[in-house]
Structures are given as C-alpha cells and as structure tokens.
Amino acid sequence: MSRVALKCPNCGSSNVVEDDLYAQSQSVCVDCGSVVSEGFLANDPVGGSEVYYSHSAPQSKRPCSNLIKGLQRVRALCRVLRVNSEIEKLSQTYFEQAYNHKSFINVSLTKKEALAGSCVLISCRMHDWPVTVGTIAYLIDTDSGAVGAVYQETLNTLNICIPTLSVTDVMEAHCQEYKITSEHVPAELAAEAKELTKRALALVELAADSWIVTGRRPVPIMIAATYLSWQSLQPTKLRLKMTLDKFCQMTKVDKNRPAMKRVTEIKEMLCKLGNEIPWEKQEITPNNVIQQVEDILSYRFALMRKALKSYEDSLKADIQQCDAKNKKTMRTKTAELKTSSKTGSSVLETERANNGACDEPNWGKRLLFAPPCVVNPKKRKRAPSNQINVTGDEEISDSEIDSYIRTHQEVREIAMTQKLLCQESDNL
C-alpha cells in the first residue's frame, strides 16, 4: 500500500493510501476508511486531468468586445448613409484590419469610433459614393479635424490610395438636405429639388473654372451656390431681400460664416460674365446680377471665352499705353538731365515707379480670374530677412555671449523674488 497525496473528502485527513487488495486498486482513507477513489482513474489527480480543455481542443481566440462594438458602429453608419452592401462589407474589412494594427490597438475609444467613421469614409470614396468628412464627423459627434487626422493615419496604415472627392459629386446629396419644397415653405419661396440641384451644380462648375473652389472647403461653396440658385430660379423681391442666414434658417440648414464670402465671390464672377452679354445695355453689378444668372448659365462657355478675349485685348491696350507713357517720361527725363544736375539713380527710380504702375507686382491682378488668395493677399508683417553671409566658423565675441548671461546681482534678485512668490503661494 503506497501513500497517495490526496485529502479524504469525508474527514479531511491526508492519510490516504493505495489499497491493492481487490482486483482494482483503491485509494482508502486510513482514519475513516472511506474510499477516496477507485479504478484505473485512481492515479489521476482528483478534479480531472491535468491537461486543460483549451490546450487539448483547438479554440479560436474570441474577438475583443470593442472590436465587435466597432463593427456594429460601422454597420450602423452604413445604414444611416444608406450605402450598398459592397461598401458595408469593405468598411468592415478595413475596420478589422486597422483595428488590429499596432497604431490603433491601444488608442482611446473616441479614436476607435473615429476609426470606424474613417473606414466607412474610405470605402465610400473607393466606390465613388459622395460623403464628406464633415458628414462623418457629424454622425459620430466628433470634431472634423480629429476625424481627418484618423482618416489620414488609416490611409497610411492600410496603404490605400483613394480618389479625391469633387464638389460636384457631393452637390446632389447636399441639395437634398434643404427643406425647400412646397410642403416645408410657402409657395412663393418653394423650389423643386431637381431644378435647384441642376442650377447649383452649374454655378459650382463655373466657380471651379474661376478658381473659387480649389483649395477651399466644399460646404460653404455648396451653400452659396444653392442660395444663389434658389434666388435666381424666381428672382422676386422677396427672395432677393432674404439674407443667407435667413435662408439657412428657413431651410433648416446649419449656418456657415465663410458661405457669405463665397456668395460675394461668385456674384463678382457672374458680373464679369454678365457684362459680356451682348443684349444687356445696363452694367451688371452684384445688385442686379441675380436676374441674369439664367442667361449667364445658358451661355456660360461663350461668355467665358468672350470675357477672356476682351480682357486680353484691354491688357494689350494698357501695355501699349504704358510703353508710350514711359517713352514720353524717358524723353522728358533725359531733357531734364541735360538741363539740371539730377543723378542717374534718381532717373532710374522714377522709371521704375512708372513701370510699377503698369505691371502690377501682384500677378493675380493681371488675370481675369485668379485665386482670391492671390488677388487679395493677406498683409503679413515680414520680419526683415537677415541675409547675412556666414561661414559658421567665425569667432564668437565674448561680449555677445555675456549679454545673454545674468549678472550675479540679477540672479540674487530673481532667486529672492522666486522665494517670495513661493512663500506667498504657500500662504494662500
């Protein structure tokens, strides 16, 4: 009989021995006589085999609960945006890939939600489904800058190349947001969605041709185009009087400050084209351009060509005028030189001034249409650029370095002041 390392369940004694008396070996408690275990399983540890089930049977690792929640979020977003099943499947694939990547596995939950939005955005863009970053940011209730950052990171991580979104693609979806049909607003202010979209799209294309769209956020341009197209569909006094803010309020669309600037820019562009209409005798100004929008859009290609041609001609005339003026001033200047004792440099200066008046230093003003940031540049205070020529190995004067070091007196005073401040803050 050999001692077995078991505890008797009856009396708790560890005095359990193996008994080979019978055909089957048994483990018997010496103190109370109860059989602890019997059969060939007696030598197995009580409580089961030593091999864990998960080791013996192949078990797939359970997906993380946040991943499951994230996938659900992706599906919800796809359903809200009403995308097709291909886009939904692709977004889920991207989400799973990105989630398990080292750059996203340990980030905050907000970022993981932004990741879900970014994956939906990427899949939509791959399938030419027009969705903006702003829409995704609105749906997941995050700042669009944060979504943008996660979006760029996701593109880098998954190594995807996607086509850029064009404003014209998003235009239709944007126009559908406006509550402008006759069931939402009175009849004189209502407009049919299709017509509104068509005209707004044409305005956006014109704006794109005249450099108003490139580099700018799409939403203010779309709002401006929709507003102007609504006004021009029925240019009644009521509509023309309504401001952009009131229009946004009426159609239940969020206000947008830059949209007003875009309205001004588009109106200026329309004026330039409107002035080329042959049958219009009066001058087209931003105040009366809305009534001409229909004609301008119908003949926009011809008007654009005409406007460019007449601008080129006027430029040539200007240059010729300048040349004639310069020649005249040169002649008078040389005559003056002969009579008076002016220095050569002053003559050159006046020449330069004359030339400056003719060819603008701002090349944007020489073109009919130029990006607004070039035509109206922001005046920046430029620090005088120090074009000092150094070799990098010059001698450094001690006096210069000493000017950067405090005197002993200063150091003592500062140390004292800091001590006093610390004491004050401790007292408080």
């Binding site: 580099g215 654009m304 944007g364 200063e410």
Partner: protein, 289 residues
C-alpha cells in the same frame, strides 16, 4: 576629350606650339540648362619642375604629376553663374567630377527656392542642470511641467534652441546651414560660460524647409488625379496638396496660389532637385483663365 594616359612634356603636346604655358584660374560658367558632362584633368606643374620632363623632380611622387580633382587646390576660384546671381551650392565645387546633365534649357525653371528654416541637432557632451541654466541665462525659459527642456533664444542669427538635461540640443529658425552651425556654437558657448563643460559633438542638419512661388495658379484637382500615388489633396482638411516625392525624398505642399513649400531635406541640393522635378509637372497644370 582625348584621355591622356600619362603626362607629356609640353614639347610633345599635340597642337600646342606655344612658347610658354600659363595656368590661370578655372572658371566654369553655366547658363541655365547648359550643363554638360565634363571630365577634366589638369596637370599642375610645381615650381622648379623641368617642364620637358614633368615626371621627374617632383618631390614625393612616384613619377606622376598631381592630378587635380578638386577646385580648392587651384589657386584661382571656380565660379558658377546661375540665374539670379545667387550661389547655388555653398559646398566646395568639384569641377573634375562628372556633372550630370540637367534638364534642357527650355524646361529649367529659373526660380530658386529660398530656405526658410533649418533644424539641426548637436550633442554638448555633458549632463546639464536646466534649473541653473534657466536661472542664470537671460534668454532662457523653463517650464518643467509643460516641457522638459530649456528654451533659449539668441538675436543673431535669430534662432531658438531646445536644450535637454542629457546635453543634447536642437537648434531651429536659421536660414542657412552656416547660420545654424554658428547659432548652435553660440548656444554651446553660453552653456559653457554658465559653468558646464560643454563640447560641440555630432552637429547634424536634420531638416531643411524651403519655399518659392511659381507665379501662376495651379489646378490641384487635376494634379491629384494624374499623380494619385504621390499626392494627397483633401480641401476639407487642408487647402494645399501634399506631394510626397520619392526621389529625392521630399514632401512638397503645393497651393492654388502657386506657392510651393518643400521640406524633409537633409541637404540644400535635395530642395533644388525636388523643385526642378516638380516645376514641369506644375507647368502642365497651368491654366490661363
């Protein structure tokens, strides 16, 4: 060019019926786009060399005249004249090494990007007590709760330095490599004067930023369509197009106004090369509307 395998005495020089041979300074004048592949070997005869037997009489040589491959050895100066009269390279020129052919004259831009910022690092080689530095230097600020380094500024060259307790320093704001080096040396000198055994080890330019203006508007939407694999244009997020050039490895920010920012360079030549690469591409998107 006939390759001369060995030096020949002047009396055997083909086609030269000269009585004397004068050496002058080498001047290479390059007009825009007229760079050629040139291999030049110049034989410099030292004083008291028997010109009829150039190989003998040269001390310390085994019968070979010194062949010049660098301009520094020549007493004259080498100059390259480029458009705008600005020196293109500050590094010593090597006229003897083959110059790769540039783009033909019709495509050269004539615009030289201006350097706006240089970031460099240097190791002062000793541990520093930032509190002492902040207390005793006039031009230093130190907020350990915000950032674990002293921010020091000097007036000339107008730069800012981040000085860490490990002794490493980052210098930013200089407009040229030499200015950056001079500024870093000045900061090291200030730290030295404050009582630390500062050295000047491993000075390295980490990043250079340049900018220029092509003076015509650029259709960013078109550029992103044709150069999709290099470009990223998201007007909702940033008004410029981000172009990641592979060779040289430079990132360019291209704006509708025609202004271009180039960054990521370790040497000046990379900025110039990147701009010369992008200029023909941008010209293709020039639209006169």
């Amino acid at each position: 060019m006939v390759e001369l395998s060995g030096t020949t005495p002047k009396c055997n020089h083909s086609g030269l019926n000269a009585h004397c041979f004068t050496l002058g300074s080498i001047e290479i004048i390059c007009a825009a786009g007229e760079l050629l592949v040139v291999h030049i070997r110049t034989d410099v005869h030292l004083a008291r060399v028997d010109l009829h037997d150039a190989s003998s009489g040269l001390p310390g040589t085994s019968g070979q005249t010194p062949q010049l491959f660098h301009s520094q050895a020549v007493t004259g100066t080498t100059t390259t004249a480029l458009p705008g009269n600005t020196p293109l390279y500050n590094t010593p020129l090597t006229p003897m090494t083959p110059i790769t052919p540039a783009t033909p004259a019709s495509e050269s831009s004539g615009i030289v990007p201006q350097l706006q910022n240089i970031v460099s690092t240097v190791n002062l080689g000793c541990k520093l007590d930032l509190k002492t530095i902040a207390l005793r230097a006039r031009n230093a600020e130190y907020n350990p709760k915000r950032f674990a380094a002293v921010i020091m500024r000097i007036r000339e060259p107008r730069t800012t330095a981040l000085i860490f307790s490990s002794g490493k320093m980052v210098c930013t704001g200089a407009k040229s490599e030499e200015q950056s080096r001079l500024a870093a040396r000045k900061y090291a000198r200030v730290v030295q004067k404050l009582g630390f055994p500062a050295k000047f080890l491993d000075f390295k330019i980490q990043n250079m930023v340049g900018s220029c203006d092509v003076k015509f508007p650029i259709r960013l939407e078109g550029l992103v369509l044709t150069h999709q694999q290099f470009s990223s244009y998201e007007p909702e997020l940033f008004p410029g197009l981000i172009y990641r050039m592979i060779k040289p490895r430079i990132v360019l920010l291209i704006f509708v106004s025609g202004k271009v920012v180039l960054t990521g360079a370790k040497v000046r030549a990379e900025i110039y090369e990147a701009f010369e690469n992008i200029y023909p591409i941008l010209k293709g998107f020039r639209k006169t509307t």
